[in-house]
Each structure stands twice: as C-alpha cells, then as structure tokens.
C-alpha cells in the first residue's frame, strides 16, 4: 500500500541536484537546489552547485573505498555507531510498530468476542 503514494511523490519531486551535476546539467541542478532548499537559508544556488561540482571532482581522484577502511581510525567509531543504531531499531519497537494491527485484533477484539479467539482472555 505504501509504495503507491511514494511513487506519485517521487514522480513529482525535483531531480537530485547531485545526479544532475554528475551528468553535467548545471542549470537544471541550480533549479533543483532552489526548489529543495529552504528560502530563508538559500541565498545562492549557483554556489551550492559549484560546491557539488568540486566535491564530485575530488571524489573522482580518490581511489575506490574498501571494506577494510570501515575499521580504520575514526571510521571505526562511525561504523560502530551506524551498526548499533541500525540494529537497535529492532529493540525500540520496530516490530510492534509493524505488527500493531495484530495486537489490537488479538487483545481488543478478544474482549468483545472471546469465544472465537484462541488464546484470548476468556478462552
């Protein structure tokens, strides 16, 4: 159910400025930056595009990252933090949030409809 509205939104959303800069479409990237940014913060979209262009050029000179680098120096902490936060989603209610419907039907309806619920309060 969820992907449907998402697909519509993605269709209407502006193209990623980073992607446009990578393709060399700088004017379109500036338009995207103007649409995506907050008006009070945005003063010069062209500057943001130039910054992206510089970053992408820098990235081209860097060598491909390897998995070993994830555990070197301060990147070790970054990797551990991301792993910990990602894994902890399971321990802070991810499952209940996804299975909430199950709870309501099992617990609430069993109050009104006890004989038909196996394992319900009055069965």
């Amino acid at each position: 159910m969820f992907p449907t509205p998402l697909a519509i939104l993605l269709f209407l959303a502006p193209e990623s400025p980073w992607w446009l800069v990578r393709k060399g479409r700088l004017e379109e990237a500036a338009v995207s930056v103007r649409r995506l940014g907050r008006a009070s913060v945005l003063t010069n979209p062209e500057e943001s595009v130039a910054m992206m262009r510089r970053t992408i050029e820098l990235e081209k000179n860097e060598k491909e990252p390897g998995y070993l680098e994830l555990f070197r120096g301060t990147d070790t902490y970054r990797t551990l933090i991301v792993c910990g936060v990602y894994a902890a989603q399971n321990l802070t209610g991810n499952l209940i949030a996804n299975q909430a419907v199950y709870f309501f039907i099992r617990e609430l309806l069993s109050l009104f409809d006890a004989p038909r619920v196996p394992g319900g309060p009055r069965s």
């Binding site: 990235e59 990602y86 209610g93």
Partner: protein, 141 residues
Amino acid sequence: MDHVANASVEAGIGSTLAFALGLITSALQTLFVMFSWILTTYLGRRTIYVWGSLINVGFLVALGIAGSVGRSDAASLAQASLGLIVSVGFTLGPAPASWVIIGETSAIRLRPLTTGIGRGAYYVVNIPCIFLATYMLNPTV
C-alpha cells in the same frame, strides 16, 4: 498487510474491520512522523534518539509485564494501549532519528559501505527478534 489477513482469520472477524484498524494505525504513524519534523526544530537529534529510545524501551518492558501477568480484561487493554503507544512513539522519536544518524554519521566516501554493513547488523538482530515474536504473538504456535 499480511498480518491483517492473518489476524482477521484468527479472530474470526470481518476483514473490513481488520483493514480499518490497519489503516488507522498507518494513519497515526504517518501523523507522528510529521510531528517528529516539528520536534526536530525544538530538540537535537541526540536528545530525541536517546530519550525516545529509553522511553520506548520502558513502554516495551511494561508491555512485556502486561503480557506476563496472566489473562484478564485489564491485561488485554493494557497490552493493546501499550502496543499503540509503542508504535506511535517509535515513529515519533527513535525511527526518524535513527535514519538521520545512519545517513549522517559515516564518512561521505565510505557511506554506501557503512550503510551496507549497518543493514547487515540490523538483520543479525532482526532474525532472532522475528523468530521470538512468532512465539509471543501467536498463541497457537
């Protein structure tokens, strides 16, 4: 939506009501994600993440206690209410904050790899959680 179908079969009720309950939960979760946008203008992501997680863990422990005290109407109502609180609390605090932390912590160059490893860590914890939940949620298993 497979949980809805599964639950409606077990409870012996119309699938319409089950679908409505699912829709209400999704709507509430959507609303609370929107509230989290407002929350970020007042609180830092660290505050939201740490306190949101702690509070939700507290509610989860309470839910576990409510599920362990034997079968009664009061325990059922407590479990249903706590289930709702946990599911909206998760979408208000820990969930959006965790995605921000996952997206922003790693070095830009290593980001795809860090996120990949992080997702691996998620599944390592997710698999035993789902396995245990099957026994906790299904009284017939």
